[in-house]
């Protein structure tokens, strides 16, 4: 190859994406040559791809800096999120292997799409330019549209795909128009150049209205992707309709990626407007938490309940987001890490218990799990308690740092953010009820007679194990990850 050193470095800096796409391509190429019975192998290839990508993340971390004429910013921030995203993807793949067999849709494309989606999210996380980000967004979105509709025979799967697709592209259009406006107002779409451009364009310290309008429209698009009120509206349907492992992926990785872009745009580009967008976040956070928790309270379908719960968690993340400080960013990142682990874990448990055709999703189907499958039940309880925010789990520290960051910013935003925290706290108590309800059903209720539990498949078992250990690790020894998150956050503050 005849590449200049600079191009070499560029390649290093996008190494994770390269590996993901590479393995995606490998799968597609190999697909025709693998007999239908052995498609499962492709799954392992996909998993390998994820592992390689993780290694590549390490490689990329050796070459921090901008790539491709400033369009990509390979900083600690993007590295942190790459790890999160790729881990989520890997776990999803592990969870899918047996699921696809069970549903009789064991296809190579599935894994390829997951890898491509991951690549898109990676771009989203490291993009330093809005249109690049848009492309990455579309990469992840389009592949997830397909994944959601992957159970082609299932009506709800089709429906979920349709809804996700229509509303998704609708929201993306808003985002794009927002980009256009920002471009119009500042003449650039390079994220870390917008900030100075804003202040130039602003006459007498007044921010250009058009840019703020653009911010609002971008908020629509991004809010849709991270599923916060009032754009959460599609979430539960899609999460319920999608194949469970896809839901696991959907609820974790894209959210993380979208939050990453959101952070870059809001904190880096529009940092000077923070006391403006603070209110948008504030309102949205409160709506999100209440809608998520209250609606989850009355669900009888565990999958859908978890969907609502993930909405609620987006709300908690927004609490940290509202701080808009470096600590806030770090808190968001840590929360995302913890959240991804516990959420993927929870949905993978649902995946296993769903049985063929995802029949057994109702709460009472979980009765007696504590006695019939103690280990699985214990894992699920762990994830639920972590989602609930019980100490010694990642979920608790996530909330803890989120609240801390918010209160820390009370200097800037006064008592409003304090009230935000209090509301979040009360919400997490409301949330406790429905998580505990699942635990009650698992442990305190008698199992149905006609149902014999199937053993947990090794792959899924590994995934659950990783998720569980990770959750505990983040809960008890969060030091490393926390430092990592802080470093990532600082890579923002270095910018301005």
């Amino acid at each position: 190859m005849f590449l200049s050193g600079e191009q070499h470095v560029n390649l290093h800096r996008i190494a994770p994406e390269i590996h993901l796409c590479l393995f995606g391509l490998i799968i597609m190429i190999a697909d025709p040559f693998v007999s239908a019975a052995r498609k499962r192998v492709l799954g392992w290839v996909g998993f390998a791809g994820a592992l390689f990508a993780l290694a590549a993340v390490y490689e990329a971390s050796m070459y921090k800096g901008f790539a491709y004429s400033h369009l990509i910013n390979n900083d600690d921030f993007s590295i942190f999120l790459h790890v999160v995203i790729i881990v989520a993807a890997a776990l999803a793949i592990l969870g899918s292997l047996d699921y696809l067999d069970r549903e009789g849709i064991q296809l190579g494309e599935y894994y390829a799409l997951i890898l491509f989606a991951a690549a898109g999210m990676g771009i989203l996380a490291s993009a330093n330019e809005l249109v690049t980000a848009f492309v990455g967004l579309e990469m992840s979105s389009i592949s997830t549209y397909v994944l959601v509709g992957f159970r082609r025979r299932a009506l709800i799967s089709n429906e979920a795909a349709l809804k996700y697709f229509l509303l998704g592209s609708f929201a993306t259009a808003f985002f794009l128009y927002g980009v256009a406006m920002v471009y119009g107002a500042t003449g650039t779409t390079i994220i870390d150049k917008i900030q100075p451009a804003l202040t130039d364009a602003s006459s007498a310290g007044r921010l250009p209205v058009l840019a703020i309008l653009g911010l609002g429209l971008m908020f629509v698009g991004l809010g849709f992707k991270v599923v916060i009120a009032p754009f959460q509206i599609y979430g539960p349907d899609v999460y319920e309709g999608a194949p469970s492992p896809v839901t696991a992926l959907l609820a974790s990785a894209p959210k993380a990626a979208a939050f990453a872009l959101m952070l870059r745009i809001f904190v880096v580009s529009f940092g000077s407007a923070s006391d403006t967008w603070f209110w948008a976040i504030w309102v949205s956070a409160i709506l999100t938490m209440f809608i998520g928790n209250l609606a989850a309270l009355v669900q009888t379908n565990v999958k859908r309940m978890l969907a609502y719960s993930s909405i609620a968690h987006a709300g908690y993340i927004l609490v940290a987001f509202a701080a808009g400080t470096a600590i806030g960013v770090a808190a968001v990142l840590f929360y995302l890490a913890a959240y991804v682990l516990m959420k993927v874990g929870a949905f993978l448990v649902v995946t296993h218990l769903g049985q063929r055709g995802e029949r057994r999703l109702a709460l009472q189907d979980y009765a007696g799990l504590g006695s019939s499958q103690p280990v699985l039940a214990a894992c699920f309880s762990l994830f639920l308690l972590s989602l609930l925010g019980l100490p010694a789990t990642g979920g608790f520290l996530g909330k803890f740092f989120a609240f801390q960051a918010a209160l820390d910013a009370s200097g800037a935003h006064g008592r409003w953010i304090v009230w935000l925290v209090v509301i979040a706290a009360i919400n997490s108590v409301i949330g406790a009820y429905y998580y505990l309800r699942v635990i009650i059903t698992m442990y305190f209720n008698e199992a149905a007679k006609d149902y014999t539990p199937t053993a947990v498949a090794p792959a899924l078992g590994v995934a659950l194990f990783i998720a569980a250990v990770g959750t505990l690790y983040l809960g008890i020894l969060p030091g490393r990850i926390l430092d990592f998150a802080k470093a990532a956050a600082d890579s923002f503050s270095l910018l301005h």
Binding site: L162, F165, D237
Partner: protein, 102 residues
Amino acid sequence: MSVVPISWYLVLSAILFGLGVIAFVFKRNIITIFMSIELMLNAINLAFVAFARARSQLDGLVFVFFVIVVAAAEAAVGLAIVILLARNRESLNVERINLLKF
């Protein structure tokens, strides 16, 4: 020769975008709803071009290019989804597609 002010183009793009949104909310047929998204994208393109022109930059035009590509990709997948749906159901009325709710 005098030229049309850019703001007019912008207003036009705004109108088209708005109409696209209205169309999205108003239409029932999945395909036409999808079309209204295309309409919105076109409006956005117009805005990009106009801004590019105003700043005499080329970036805006490049963005248009990307947007078109994305639109194409979406079209492919979207129509695939529509076909898939049409296979399993008889109606294309989006309001009739509501198994998932609450």
